[in-house]
């Protein structure tokens, strides 16, 4: 199972506590994880990536295994630890600054 950690605003929107666990049919990539997430929680469509272009929203970041994967290709393989479920895929709201 893939573990996904959502920021608090999206956890409340999706009505989940803690991490989300997702089963994938195929390789673990940003695209496959987000597709599965939006299938299970359709209220999250449009909040992490654009409805039409599927591009990541500007102030959303993707972290895993202490790395920033935000700029990685959507179909690139996620780290093995994420694919095995030993590390979570983090969806993060970018720092607001100020």
């Amino acid at each position: 199972m893939i573990r996904v950690a959502l920021p608090e605003h999206l956890r409340r929107l999706a009505r989940v506590d803690g991490e989300v666990e997702l089963a994938l049919n195929g390789p673990a990539t940003q695209r496959s994880v987000l597709d599965a997430l939006e299938t299970s929680y359709p209220m999250l469509r449009g909040t992490i990536r654009d409805h039409v272009t599927l591009e990541r929203r500007p102030f959303v970041r993707f972290f895993a295994c202490a790395r920033d994967l935000s700029l990685a290709q959507p179909d690139a393989a996620l780290p093995e630890a994420v694919a095995r479920g030993t590390e979570p895929f983090l969806v993060v709201g970018a720092l607001a600054g100020g």
Binding site: P7, H9, M43, R45, G46, T47, V60, G93, A94
Partner: protein, 371 residues
């Protein structure tokens, strides 16, 4: 016993304020969607338990919420606002053309007769419609053909913030867009025309009477007289007696004719309300006194309403969607401020008291009169 429900959108969540018909004792429920910007919450006139709320965030974009129980519980519905076809371009700050980009929903206008039908006014300016309770949204793209290539965003964004539907003929709709003006359709959105004749914007436009480009802040209508429209423009308070074909200034003796909201008394179509703000560079009341101005003559002659409102050291603003009236007798008037206060007057503006004082900055106020 009759009652009222005040729906408040703030920078950090939505609140539902409730009272009986006396409008003296209030309960405050919220925040709903805490931490999100709530630009607008509005109830269906056809079913007071059906509410719609626009929830947005710079991080996570637009969410549309719907309640079927008067705001006790909510469910996210459709949030896909895709412009029809190739969206095209509008004027940009540097003189180039810039593609239309959806940013957020500013205003929701439910149908008078169908709880599942609702319009949404959005930034970048466009009008969307849903007939399935907000699950799916379709743009009315002909609006952007009404000289949309000349529209240019102001500092507050190029937003469609006002939607006024003729209660006698719902195919007649007036919308207002910041820094573009008023646009009207007589055929439910198949075709649109600018309706800005008589507006003058000498310090905002090189041609002060241009067909488009006027910064209209709000228009209001009494349901018994759809051909009479009132307007708070960036500067100037205006009225039209021919359904928007021509506008005349009615600022009269106001201390300043800059402001954002304008409202009409529920039972007196010639009684209107504005909240004068010092200027476009100083968004707070003149003389630091928070005063609602009421005209009982449809404009020109205005009286200050001050009882219960702060008359010193007050530097709040009242935004365009943050004033509303109920339909009880006497008519109740409500407004919210950038300082987080929501004021209510149960007697048409003669006396005011805060319902609540310390909410996040108030963006919108709507009122439902309940049986």
């Amino acid at each position: 016993m009759s009652g009222v429900r005040v729906l408040v959108g703030t920078r950090k969540g939505a609140f539902v304020l409730s009272s009986d018909g006396k409008r003296k004792q209030w309960s405050v429920n919220g925040p709903h969607f805490g931490g999100w910007e709530i630009y607008h919450v509005k109830g269906s006139p056809a079913d007071p338990n059906r509410l719609y709320a626009s929830q947005s965030s710079a991080w996570f974009g637009q969410v549309l919420q719907r309640s079927n129980d008067g705001g006790k519980t909510w469910d996210a519905v459709g949030n896909k606002f895709a412009y029809d076809g190739v969206p095209g371009t509008h004027q940009w700050y540097d003189g180039t053309q810039h593609p239309w980009e959806f940013k957020r929903v500013w205003h929701l206008e439910p149908s008078l007769t169908d709880p599942d039908a609702v319009y949404a006014g959005v930034e970048d300016a466009g009008l969307f419609h849903s007939t399935d309770g907000g699950q799916n949204w379709q743009e009315l793209p002909a609006l952007r053909a009404a000289k949309g290539h000349l529209w240019q965003p102001g500092a507050g964004g190029m937003c469609l913030h006002t939607i006024v539907v003729d209660p006698r003929d719902p195919s007649r709709i007036s919308v207002a867009i910041s820094a573009a003006g008023v646009f009207q359709t007589d055929d439910a959105g198949k075709s649109w025309r600018p309706a800005n004749c008589g507006l003058k914007s000498p310090y905002q436009l090189p041609d002060s009477t241009a067909e488009v480009g006027h910064c209209v802040h709000r228009i209001a209508m009494h349901p018994s007289r759809p051909n009479v429209l009132f307007m708070q423009k960036h500067w100037d308070v205006m009225r039209s007696d021919d359904g928007g074909a021509n506008w005349q200034e009615i600022s009269g003796n106001l201390p300043t004719d800059f402001g954002f909201p304008i409202e009409v008394h529920a039972h007196e179509p010639e009684t209107i309300y504005v909240v004068p703000i010092k200027s476009d560079s100083e968004h707070y009341p003149p003389d630091a006194k928070l005063r609602v101005y009421r005209s009982r003559t449809g404009g020109n002659e205005w009286e200050a309403l001050t009882t219960g409102l702060p008359q010193r050291d007050c530097y709040v603003n009242v935004l365009r969607d943050a004033m509303a009236v109920d339909s009880l007798d006497p008519c109740g008037v409500y407004f919210g401020t950038s300082g987080g206060q929501v004021y209510a007057s149960p007697d048409a503006g003669d006396n005011w008291a805060p319902i609540v004082r310390d909410l996040p900055a108030v963006v919108s106020v709507e009122v439902q009169t309940l049986p």
